[in-house]
Structure formats: structure tokens, C-alpha cells
């Protein structure tokens, strides 16, 4: 038996697990080989040192803590959520009183939310015969552009004389009007936005006669909406 084979079997030999023939061969080897004999003695000493280790004992017995933990695990102090996961028969009446305040708070919260709710938004009603339509193209007479850095104010080709009845009146009047200048420079429409309708009608008629230089935006002619405020005021010479 080689040293390697002996060392592989030393543990079993110490435990008495080897067959008789193997044990005899191993013992014979140990008598001849000092290194293997020393290895066997060291392994036996290891077992002895381990066997001599004292039995450890707890300073405090674990019996009482185990009893307490079993009581907690199976007794009255289960977590509140456990009530949701156990059978009806296991439910304990003293848990439910603690749920009552929680239910009240929940109901109050829901009631407050309902009270603060302003209700549904007003229903949108279309006028009889009206229908949803497509917005007209931008820059056309139906959807004119407004003057801006890129859309210049339309230049008037000829001045319009104000109607004489406006000049004959007394007092102070003002009219706020919208003029839509069409793509060909004509006036597509004049709307009196603010002012006396009767007094302003001749003014509207006069403004409809205006002609403008067509306005261009990015190379194409566009309709432009122009707002103007026309006021008449009485000016008196200063008293000397």
C-alpha cells in the first residue's frame, strides 16, 4: 500500500470503517513509514482536541422565549392585517371595534370629496341647424391674418373722404371697426364693433369703398384684418 493510498484511508481507519484486510495492510504500513504514522497520530489528536471541546450552554434558557414566541405566533397579538387573511371563525370580536374609527374616517373622506365635487360640466348645445365645420384656410377672407412683423399693414391706394353728416354732428363720438382687406386689395367687409350703429352706418359704407395694395405673406396674397378707432372730438379755441 502506497503512502498516498494510506493517507486517503486514514480517516476511515480511525473510525474503524475499513475491512479487516485493508486495516491490517494499513497498520503494517504505519509501522514501516514514520511520516504516515505521524500523520495518523496528528489526525487522532485532531479528533481528541475536538472531542475535548466543552459542551456549551446558554446563559439563559431558551424555554421561556420559545413559550412567549409561540404565544405571540398563535395567540392574540397577531397583526391587524391578519384579519383579512383568516377564516371568519378565527376572527376575534375585539379587533372589530378598532376598525370602526377607521371606517368612520374613510366615510368622512368620501363624503367630503362628494361635497366638494362641483358636478358635471355644462352640456354643449349647438344652435338648431348648426353643424361642426372645417375652419377655413388661413389668409382667406373667411379667416384673415392679423398685421404682424411678417404681415404688413395694407397700404391705402386712395384716401376716403368721411361722410359730411359725421362732420356736421355735435358732441364726441367714437367708432371701433374691423375692416377685412381681401386678397385683391378690395374690402371684403366692414364690421362696426363698438359705437352707435345708426351714426356709424355712413362711415361703414364709406370704408367699404376703400382700395388697398394687396398684402403678401411668404409670396402669396393674403386677406388681412385691420382694426381702427375713429373718434370725433370738438376742439375749442383757448379763451384769451
Amino acid at each position: 500500500m502506497t503512502c498516498r493510498a494510506v493517507r486517503r484511508r486514514l480517516s476511515g481507519w480511525l473510525d474503524g470503517d475499513l475491512e479487516a484486510a485493508q486495516a491490517r495492510a494499513l497498520s503494517a504500513h504505519l509501522e514501516r513509514c514514520a511520516a504516515c504514522a505521524r500523520r495518523a497520530a496528528e489526525l487522532r489528536a485532531v479528533s481528541g482536541l475536538l472531542a475535548d471541546l466543552p459542551r456549551l450552554e446558554a446563559v439563559d434558557p431558551v424555554e421561556a422565549p420559545v413559550a412567549l414566541r409561540l404565544e405571540l405566533a398563535g395567540g392574540a397579538r397577531r397583526p391587524g392585517l391578519a384579519v383579512l387573511f383568516r377564516g371568519v371563525a378565527a376572527a376575534r370580536p375585539f379587533i372589530f371595534p378598532s376598525l370602526v374609527p377607521a371606517a368612520c374616517v374613510l366615510l368622512l373622506g368620501v363624503a367630503a370629496l362628494l361635497a366638494l365635487d362641483p358636478g358635471p360640466l355644462p352640456e354643449v348645445r349647438l344652435a338648431p341647424g348648426a353643424a361642426w365645420s372645417v375652419v377655413p384656410a388661413s389668409g382667406t377672407e373667411a379667416n384673415p391674418l392679423f398685421p404682424s412683423a411678417e404681415v404688413l399693414l395694407p397700404q391705402q391706394l386712395a384716401a376716403v373722404s368721411l361722410p359730411p353728416e359725421m362732420l356736421a354732428g355735435k358732441g364726441e363720438d367714437s367708432f371701433f371697426l374691423e375692416t377685412v382687406v381681401a386678397r385683391d386689395g378690395s374690402v371684403a367687409g366692414v364690421t362696426l364693433l363698438e359705437g352707435d350703429t345708426g351714426a356709424g352706418q355712413p362711415l361703414v359704407e364709406a370704408l367699404r369703398q376703400q382700395r388697398f395694395e394687396p398684402v403678401r405673406y411668404r409670396g402669396r396674397r393674403v386677406a388681412v384684418s385691420v382694426y381702427r378707432l375713429i373718434s370725433r372730438m370738438e376742439v375749442r379755441p383757448p379763451r384769451t
Binding site: S11, R39, V46, L53, L56, E63
Partner: protein
């Protein structure tokens, strides 16, 4: 202590009104020890006194094994509690194919393994030097015999070195060594406690002894020479 209040404790709902301070069990007051089969049968019926006897019978071995495997007396005490809680819960599944002691050993080894992995994941086992962490508290747990101070110091020092070497081994090797050499189980019992084949135990035992021999080389020089 009233025996009636104790017996209610394990019945669950019926014992709610009993204060927890009254729950410590006095198994020593039993007139006699029950045989293992009867003890297990009584525990299964919810007999608190029988379970208290079971805890008392095996408490020492569970604490000692856990302390040797984990090297931390506080952890060992926690693990021992867990072990007996598991015993209580799983006693219904105990089939009696092995002895009750071996079955409890198996639960204890599994609990120690789980606890070790738990702390290993949190790197706690690397925080303190091994001597400071383990050996002083373990010495406090040892039984005190009638030795002279010199021999007691010598024995403690030797035990300190052996325990430190033990804790350096892989957990599987440490487990078979403690069960076989310290607790004195046979290879068959160790195999049953670990849930592995007997051949595996012998193989691990051989490697573990060799690993210990290398780690204890200095100490062994004196042991072998003497």
C-alpha cells in the same frame, strides 16, 4: 404556577387571557420523563408540559451545536429559539424514521446554515476580527468544572484555538466535524441529520480532518510529542 394556565397556552385562542409572564413552563416539576414516542405523541396533541420537557431535553445540544457552528452565542440563542419553533410547527410531519434527536439536529443545522447565509449576504461576518467576535463570548458559555486555574486556563486556550480553526473551515466540513467529533454522533446519524449519503459524510469527514490538521499544526506538535 398554575398548571391549568400553562396547558391553555398552546391551545391558541383559549389561552388568550393568560398573561405572558405566566407562560414560563416548569417541566422539571413533572413526576417523570416520558419516553420519546409518548413525548412526541403528547406534543402533537398540544400538551404544553410535554413540549416543555422536549425543549429542556434538547435545549443544551441545540445551543451547543449552534454556537459551535456559528461562533456567536447570541446568534446561537436566537437560532435555538427558531429551532424549537420549527420543531413545534413540524412535529406533525415527524415520521419517526430517525430518532427525535437526529431530527432536531437536522432542523438546527438547516437553521444555522440559513442564518449564516443571511449574515453572509449582509457581510456582517467580515466586520470584526474573529477572536473578538467569537471566542470571548463562547468561553462564557462553557461549563465550569472543578479544575485548577492553571488547567482551566490551559484548556480554555486550547479550546479557543480549536474553535478558531473550526470556524475557518467550510460550513459543510465544520458541520460534519462538530456532529461527529464534538456531539459524538455516528456517521449514519450524521448522514441522517444532514440528509446526505453516509459515503458523503465519510468523504467530508476525511477532508475536514485533514483541513483541521493543517490549521492546528503548531498545537499538534505539542500534542503528538506528548
Amino acid at each position: 404556577m398554575r398548571a391549568g394556565s400553562v396547558s391553555k397556552w398552546f391551545e391558541g385562542d383559549g389561552g388568550r387571557s393568560v398573561a405572558t409572564s405566566e407562560m414560563s413552563l416548569d417541566a422539571g416539576s413533572l413526576a417523570g420523563r416520558l419516553p420519546e414516542g409518548e413525548l412526541v405523541a403528547s406534543c402533537r396533541t398540544g400538551d404544553a408540559l410535554a413540549f416543555a420537557q422536549l425543549v429542556r431535553l434538547h435545549e443544551g445540544m441545540v445551543v451547543s451545536l449552534s454556537a459551535r457552528l456559528l461562533g456567536d452565542p447570541e446568534e446561537a440563542r436566537d437560532v435555538a429559539q427558531e429551532v424549537f419553533l420549527q420543531v413545534y410547527k413540524r412535529l406533525g410531519a415527524f415520521e419517526g424514521r430517525s430518532s427525535l434527536k437526529t431530527w432536531i439536529y437536522r432542523i438546527a443545522v438547516n437553521q444555522c446554515h440559513n442564518r449564516r447565509r443571511f449574515w453572509h449576504r449582509r457581510r456582517r461576518d467580515r466586520e470584526l476580527p474573529i477572536d473578538e467576535r467569537v471566542l470571548a463570548p463562547l468561553a462564557a458559555l462553557e461549563r465550569r468544572g472543578g479544575e485548577s486555574p492553571y488547567h482551566e486556563t490551559l484548556r480554555r486556550e486550547r479550546a479557543r484555538i480549536v474553535q478558531a480553526a473550526l470556524l475557518e473551515l467550510r460550513f459543510e466540513h465544520r458541520t460534519v466535524l462538530v456532529l461527529r467529533e464534538v456531539e459524538g454522533l455516528t456517521c449514519e446519524e450524521v448522514a441522517s441529520a444532514l440528509g446526505v449519503a453516509e459515503g458523503t459524510v465519510k468523504s467530508r469527514l476525511s477532508r475536514a480532518r485533514e483541513a483541521m490538521r493543517r490549521r492546528l499544526a503548531t498545537l499538534l506538535e505539542g500534542e503528538v510529542a506528548s
